[in-house]
């Protein structure tokens, strides 16, 4: 019983297929509609480079937030990348296969922990430790960096392991046959071959770190100032939007949307690079 | 009573291109009904491409292009108005690798039948028994029709594929090296089935195994590098071929 003709089905499916790109276009459209006028009204330079964020006085410089986002992301990279890559190398090359097959999915499973819980742990466990050991308010760039670093670990580990495993066994065997140890093979050969995938994973991690909202709100302190040290309180771009959106009106609200525009562009850019790198790797396989 | 032999498929000046490459060169062939036509030739000679043009399966590959005519009962199967779906119901194909669909034996056999909306259970039961019997598989599976087709052995799966095609009541059955992966006993089952079936169907069998053609085919065609070198009664081709290349291939000078 053919209710839908073949042609009809094809047409219907082609419509649904455009849903993703339409969604993206819609989102971009509205964020830009709300945010771009502000950028031209206020001036892009002032917006991005001024350090004065004072909505009541009509001052909307987001430089402190840009700096904070940057430092937190950098810190997260410094925490997450070495730990993640090290873990990936160990699991992919040295650990027995069974261990890898249990631990890798376990890490991915643990990655499902919601960001609010990470943030909470940051507040309740990490911040007091920082306060005691280093001084300062505890809720700081450092706390943000550490928590975010942990949050992106599963992404980095997972993709890096896949990249390492994708390196043909013939490479390894050739190297070992020439008398190299596994470690030598890794740092001279395998790592280099898996590099693009590993870098892609780090870029994806960067994207996640910049885009993270809830966890950073909870642990970074949210003070609007350019952080001078890792122990300073700071407010990221995302936190700024989330915290003030609820009561923002008029130009204030537009400024927040403009912040969204900045974020949107940066992250789409980062993710495009990472996607291209990953797709290239997969197709090359 | 001798079946009246008539031309079932008439191939005229068939040229097949794959992008810029010419795979089949000016093939002219008349295939009679109710007999087995064996197609032999070395790898790469275009046998499979030729077979697949007979039910327009070649169109599934991008870059494939045809010139010339293939007439089935007088009608060009490549005419624009012709419904490919109907064509494929009349000209069935059994592939080289036995591919049982991931469903029960019963469902495998009636898959094509259900496509036309035919869902009457008694009718389907009849079709299943008849088709599996014609494929010489009924006795082995009649008690376990709900078993997944994937659980059968290679030889059984291939007979299942044959039954699947028979269930559609086609006019023509194409077989592309159906026994290439099978053990000798399974091969015999299939060959016996084909010998029975030719009484009712027109059968075209591509085979790598010249001996199989000698055993089973009434007429044999020899393809070499995309050209139809020679065609004729099997007995004649194997005992007194016209072309030197035919003789060389059959005697194993090249393979």
């Amino acid at each position: 019983m053919k209710i839908l003709s073949e042609k009809g089905v094809q047409r219907l499916l082609s419509v649904t297929a455009f849903s993703a790109i339409s969604a993206l276009a819609l989102i971009a459209l509205f964020i830009f509609i709300e945010g771009l006028p502000f950028l031209f009204k206020y001036g892009i330079k002032d917006f991005l480079l001024s350090s004065e964020w004072n909505p009541e006085a009509g001052k909307f410089g987001i430089y402190p937030m840009i700096a904070s986002s940057f430092w937190v992301m950098l810190g997260a990279m410094l925490v997450g990348a070495p730990l993640g890559i090290a873990g990936a190398i160990f699991l992919a090359e040295f650990a027995p296969k069974t261990v890898m097959h249990i631990v890798k999915p376990a890490i991915e499973l643990l990655a499902a922990v919601p960001s609010v819980i990470y943030g909470f742990i940051g507040v309740v466990v990490l911040a007091p430790i920082i306060r005691d050991v280093f001084g300062g308010p505890g809720l700081s760039v450092l706390a943000g960096a550490i928590i975010l670093g942990i949050m992106i670990l599963p992404t980095i580990i997972s993709i890096s392991i896949d990249s390492i495993l994708a390196v043909p066994t013939s490479f390894r065997e050739g190297s070992l046959a020439l008398g190299a140890t596994t470690w030598q093979t890794i740092h001279m050969l395998t790592f280099r071959a898996a590099k693009s995938g590993i870098i892609a994973s780090i870029i994806l991690g960067m994207g996640r770190a910049i885009g993270e909202t809830m966890a950073v709100i909870m642990v970074t302190g949210n003070a609007v100032k350019i952080p001078n040290s890792a122990l300073d309180s700071a407010r990221t771009l995302t936190a700024n939007i989330a915290l003030e959106m609820n009561y923002a009106t008029g130009m204030h609200r537009e400024a927040l949307f403009a912040t969204g525009v900045v974020l949107f562009i940066v992250i789409i850019f980062l993710n495009s690079i990472a996607s291209v790198a990953i797709r290239k790797k997969v197709i090359k396989k | 009573m001798i079946q009246e032999k008539r031309i079932k498929i008439d191939i005229r000046h068939l040229n097949l291109y794959f992008f810029k490459e010419k795979i089949l060169k000016d093939i002219n062939l008349e295939i009679s009904s109710n007999q087995i036509l064996g197609i032999i030739g070395p790898a790469g000679s275009g046998k499979t491409s030729f077979l697949r043009s007979l039910n327009r399966m070649n169109e599934l590959e991008t870059g494939s292009r045809i010139e010339g005519q293939i007439l089935l009962d007088g009608i060009d199967i490549y005419k624009k108005e012709l419904n490919v779906v109907t064509l494929r119901k009349r000209v069935g194909i059994v592939f080289a690798l036995p591919v049982a669909l991931p469903m029960s034996i019963y469902e495998n056999v009636v898959y094509g039948v259900r496509l036309s909306g035919n869902n009457d259970k008694t009718h389907l039961d009849e079709i299943v028994e008849k088709s599996l019997s014609e494929a010489f598989l009924w006795d082995e599976v009649k008690d376990r029709l709900s078993l997944s087709g994937l659980r059968l052995s290679g030889g059984q799966q291939q007979r299942l594929c044959l039954a699947r095609v028979l269930a559609m009541k086609p006019d023509v059955i194409l077989l592309d090296e159906p026994c290439s992966g099978l053990d000798p006993i399974s091969t015999t089952w299939i060959e016996d089935a084909l010998t029975e079936l030719k009484k009712l169907y027109t059968i075209i069998l591509v085979t790598n195994n010249t001996m199989q053609a000698a055993r089973v085919a009434d007429t044999t065609a020899f393809f070499l590098m995309g050209e139809l070198m020679e065609v004729g009664l099997t007995k004649k081709i194997f005992t007194d071929p016209v072309k030197k290349e035919t003789n060389d291939y059959i005697t194993g000078r090249f393979g």
Partner: protein
């Protein structure tokens, strides 16, 4: 003096191993910490009572309902669209500018941070379309967010169906849609369902999007245009406003368990799917 490679390797293994252990330990610590404090609070009573005093006491019944309804709505919208897209990409077209555009859109959408979905949902669904803070707004915004996940997993699942099945189906006179319906979708189903489950998981753990689009009402929702909370939102509010550490931990425990169950089932399903395929 050059250290013999044998020893550098031992050193490397030690360091790398330590890193792995540290990673796993941290992640386990987080889960154990929350569960340890929260499981005692989690009881049938807790789950099925209404909250009182802004959540300082009582249970999380309406929040539980919200946590079920929001992802459900998101999936009801995103699943057909996502599966349709992947079927179209895999079965009805060949690689072309159009398919590359669709894939690009999907990849970009996957990378958009959640706060942007929240902003968009707020401006588009809540304000412009006038749906207000509601399950409807929340569900639609979440649908946009999980769409890429579903498209990706579905497409992978569909592509992993052996080509031979398609050939056989076509040779028996099936159309493309018939082949999809009768052979490909049934075969790819576990993979597709995995994607759907993962989408549900993402919706459950999402906070920013929900707050901006579904609000934070503590009442049991009676229609899709009512506001509601999910467990993630409730936990965030309780913890940040310091309303009740006890209940916060209880909610967190429930949240973690829910998320773990969802992801574990997705993982097991995928595993069975891959095992069956091989």
């Amino acid at each position: 003096m050059r250290i013999p490679p044998k020893y550098t390797q031992i050193g490397a293994i030690a360091i790398l191993g330590a890193a792995s252990v540290l990673t796993v330990a941290i992640l386990i610590f987080i889960i154990v910490f929350v569960l340890q404090k929260g499981l005692p609070i989690l009881s049938i009573n807790f789950l099925f009572t209404n909250p009182s005093d802004m959540g300082r006491s009582g249970g999380i019944l309406p929040i539980l309902i919200g946590t079920i309804l929001l992802p459900l709505l998101a999936i009801i919208i995103a699943a057909p669209l996502g599966i349709g897209t992947s079927v179209y990409l895999a079965e009805f077209t060949s690689e072309s500018r159009v398919t590359r555009l669709i894939r690009f859109g999907t990849d970009c959408l996957a990378g958009v941070p959640s706060i942007i979905f929240g902003l968009f949902g707020f401006i588009f669904f809540v304000t412009i379309l006038g749906m207000g803070w509601s399950i409807m707004s929340g569900g639609l915004s979440l649908a946009f967010m999980v769409l890429p996940t579903i498209i990706r997993t579905s497409e992978e699942a569909i592509r992993s169906v052996p080509k031979a099945y398609r050939e056989v189906s076509f040779s028996l006179g099936a159309t493309r849609w018939q082949t999809v319906r009768k052979v490909i979708l049934p075969n790819a189903l576990p993979g597709i369902v995995t994607g759907v489950i993962l989408g549900i998981g993402r919706s459950i753990e999402e906070t920013a999007v929900v707050i901006f689009t579904a609000g934070s009402s503590l009442l049991i929702p009676t229609s899709v245009f009512d506001s509601t909370r999910t467990m993630a939102v409730h936990f965030y509010i309780l913890a940040r406003e310091g309303l009740s550490m006890e209940n916060a931990y209880g909610t967190a425990a429930a949240l973690i368990i829910a998320v773990l169950i969802v992801n574990l089932s997705a993982y097991l399903l995928m595993h069975r799917f891959i095992a069956k395929r091989n």
